[in-house]
Amino acid sequence: MTLILKQIFAFFRMLNSETGSNQLAWGLALGLVLGFSPFLSLQTFLVLLICIFLRVQMGAAFLSAFFFKFVAFLLDPLTDFLGRKVLESEALRPAFVELYNMPIVPLTRFNNSIVMGSGLLGFVLAIPMFFIFKRLIQQYRVTVVARYKGTKIWKAFAATSFYKWYNKYEELYG
């Protein structure tokens, strides 16, 4: 839990800094995939491994996953419909039969209509959403953060010894 909280704090700190927009955007996009995937499935495990081993902002991924889980719940009827259409497609039937009887692949639970529908939606949306998230982060930094840092209140706060102490602490321990 501490680790997750630490990552979430790091997300907000990075969001308000001037670096790491790619890490944040990837984190949010992968979080979307996590949100749209069932918890106990191979794809969740793989995405988690990517989040752990690649320099992706994990706090962003967790927050995004949490948010998109609710979105996925609301989209259940749509994803169910989409999944049924795909799984019942005659053209894809031989491929699914092969995949279903292959080792490892069934662990993705792709044969469930909701998993298939939401998985498709998640993976298709991940790349465009990466660019959208990146753009939004940049916009946020230019409009909200810059304006906020120009206020007198912020300047007064930045001049306090507490803030300097906090900055030093962050430099030393990250």
Binding site: L3, I52, F53, L54, R55, F73, D76, P77, D80, G83, R84, L87, E88, R93, F96, V97, L99, Y100, N101, M102, P103, I104, P106, L107, R109, N111, N112, S113, I114, V115, G117
Partner: protein, 657 residues
């Protein structure tokens, strides 16, 4: 670089740029892996054991104990030892205890997210053995406030039970004893006077008759009187019907006759209408009297049930005696069926339509979607235990039986493997004196409706202290007996059940006690005369309402035994009820019927008589009209002939003949 004060500033250490791979995550991940391994190695088996015990308790409703449980992830193996399932009816005994269950899960299947077991071994089976300490039994769940009142299922069950109770008096021997005791029912009859439906209906009919009879009398009085009809006859006679002097006279006579005929016709119509109305009223009332007859019969039947007058026929006796004997087995079967319906995966068995759709407002659950199985020949279904070998060697110390059996193809998708689940068991339990146990069962889910069929028999098993009848008047128990049993049956869609059961009980020491000496003696003699007691049951129906046909050689013997003593008493009691009904309803009913018949006769006679009179007068008028017309025609004809003759004579004269 220098500061404004001129002192050199230390060079700012540029942070090392980090690559895309997060190498520092390796250590935490390793820790997570080690912790996971440690959990599965040291704690998982214990937690799984506790979880299974808890689950078993919740599902079966009685304590489930597991002595030892071992799993291995790498080998894919599972071993469960010392399984004990408490008997919820007798918590100091185990319903079943199994020494060892072990199987290996195929990795080949696990990698495909399927649970496939080649062979499962089940050993050291004990049935109904005592426990070291009594097991916990789950208390019945409290009724939630919103669920108070019987559910649709309970209502159905109650209805079935009620029907059964009404059909089969379960204390028939007690009732026979009561009849022999000769208790007076006169006082009780006096108390139920107001509850007789026939009496109520009779009162209604009497009131209705009193009201209607006035109307009927008025209508009879309003009918045309014979004098009026005779006057019509006189009128007809007075009208001239021949020797008309002029055509005007004829027309006048005809008009008079027509007027009389019309008057007669009107009266006829009035008579007919009144007759029809009266007849319809009388028919209605007659229907009421027929209903009264039916109610009298119903009241007699109800009184016979109320005063527990037994039906002394073999079939009824067998039904009444053996139904309570069979009931606990059927109840247990219904319990297991309910359990299967509750816990079996929906796509596996619940194919039958529910009795009543449950409509409840509830939040939308997270949708499950549809899980497709893209099977191909020789593919694994999601769950498949190919073979369960059951073997157990008899051991007097352990109380285990000699049992060998095979269960094949327990699976989540029989269509994929193309085979039904079959089970066959054979063995003896010498420590319990049970021998020749055989069971064959098939669970076929290949068609739209699942079908479970079984065929079982036990060549010999002991019956010790098993009660057959226990009532305040009579108690019969098998103190010691040897029995054998055979049963076949099938359950379709977990609803439609049919079965046959044959139970043969021999070498019986009965324990018979009856308050009434005669009954005691008859029962002792009857049971003594039966070397083998047979019980044949045939059941069929949609659960929970199961129709049972029970036959036993005990029935005819008891009938014969009791016939002489009890038949007279039963007939007496029946006659008493018949007399009581006659007294309460019969006299009044007869009086009412007599009055009604009198009125009916009066109406019929009067209407017929008047109708005949009117008919004759009408015919008379019509006859006269016809004769007048004919007379005038003849006259005209004669005139024409005379004229023709005259003309011919004149012509002859002119021609000189």
């Amino acid at each position: 670089m220098t500061t404004t004060s001129g002192a050199p500033t230390p060079p700012v250490k540029k942070p090392k740029k980090k690559g895309p791979i997060r190498t520092e995550a390796a250590v935490p991940l390793l820790i997570v892996i080690v912790l996971t391994w440690a959990y599965f190695h040291f704690l998982f088996d214990r937690h799984l054991r506790s979880g299974l015990e808890y689950l078993g308790y919740q599902v079966i409703g009685a304590q489930v104990d597991i002595a030892n449980l071992e799993t291995s992830f790498w080998k894919g193996s599972f071993r469960l030892q010392g399984l004990q399932i408490t008997n919820s009816q007798k918590p100091d005994r185990n319903m079943v205890a199994i020494g060892d269950i072990r199987f290996d899960v195929l990795w080949d299947g696990l990698l495909r997210a399927r649970f496939v077991v080649d062979e499962m071994a089940v050993e050291q089976i004990q049935i109904d053995v005592p426990r070291k300490s009594p097991g916990r039994v789950k208390p019945p769940e409290p009724i939630k406030p919103e669920e108070k009142g019987p559910s649709a299922m309970e209502k159905l069950k109650d209805k079935a039970l009620q029907q059964t109770e009404q059909t089969y008096n379960q204390n028939v021997l007690g009732d026979l004893a009561a009849i022999l005791g000769g208790g007076s029912s006169a006082d009780q009859m006096a108390k139920i006077e107001g509850t007789l439906q026939s009496k109520e209906r009779l009162k209604q009919l009497e009131a209705s008759y009193a009201e209607k009879s006035k109307v009927w009398q008025e209508k009879i009085n309003a009918l045309p009187k014979p004098k009026e009809i005779d006057a019509l006859g006189a009128k007809i006679k007075a009208i001239k019907t021949s020797n008309f002097k002029s055509p005007q006279e004829l027309v006048e006579s005809l008009n008079q006759l027509k007027a009389v005929a019309e008057e007669a016709d009107q009266k006829y119509k009035q008579l007919q209408e009144t007759g029809n109305t009266l007849n319809s009223d009388l028919n209605q009332f007659n229907q009421g009297l027929k209903e009264l007859d039916a109610l009298v019969k119903k009241d007699i039947a109800e009184l016979e049930t109320r005063f527990k007058i037994p039906k002394l026929d073999a079939k009824n006796l067998a039904q009444s005696i053996f139904r309570p004997y069979i009931e606990p087995y059927l109840n247990r079967f219904t319990e297991y069926r309910g359990m299967a319906e509750k816990y079996m995966p929906p796509n596996l068995m619940k194919k039958g339509k529910p009795d009543e759709a449950e409509i409840q407002i509830q939040p939308r659950p997270r949708a499950d979607g549809v899980t497709y199985e893209f099977g191909k020949p020789r593919a694994y279904p999601i769950f498949w235990v190919k073979k369960i070998s059951i073997s157990s060697k008899a051991s007097p110390t352990l109380g285990t039986g000699d049992l060998a059996g095979l269960v094949t193809d327990v699976t989540s998708n029989q269509i994929l493997i193309g085979k039904p689940t079959t089970a066959s068991l054979k063995g003896d339990f010498p420590s319990m004196s049970i021998s020749g146990f055989e069971f064959k069962g098939i669970f076929d889910n290949l068609k739209a409706d699942s079908k479970i069929s079984y065929d079982m028999k036990v060549a010999q098993y002991p019956l010790v202290g098993r009660p057959l009848i226990q009532s305040s008047d009579v108690s019969i128990a098998f103190e010691k007996a040897n029995a054998s049993i055979e049963s076949k049956g099938q359950l379709v869609a977990l609803r439609e059940f049919e079965f046959t059961l044959g139970n043969y009980i021999k070498q019986v020491d009965y324990q018979i006690q009856a308050k009434n000496e005669v009954v005691d003696e008859i029962l002792k003699n009857v049971f003594k005369s039966l070397p083998v007691l047979t019980l044949d049951v045939k059941g069929e129906g949609r659960l929970p309402g199961l129709g049972l046909a029970i036959n036993s050689n005990l029935g005819p013997e008891l009938q014969r035994g009791f016939e002489n003593e009890v038949k007279r008493k039963i007939d007496e009691a029946k006659l008493k009820i018949q007399n009581y009904i006659n007294e309460q309803v019969g006299k009044e009913k007869a009086k009412l019927e007599a009055e009604f018949n009198k009125v009916k006769g009066q109406v019929d006679g009067e209407v017929k008589k008047l109708q005949a009179q009117l008919d004759s007068k009408k015919q008379e008028a019509e006859g006269k009209m016809n004769s007048a017309k004919k007379d005038e025609e003849n006259k005209a004809k004669k005139g024409v002939e005379n004229e023709a003759k005259k003309a011919a004579e004149e012509l002859k004269k002119k021609l000189g003949f």
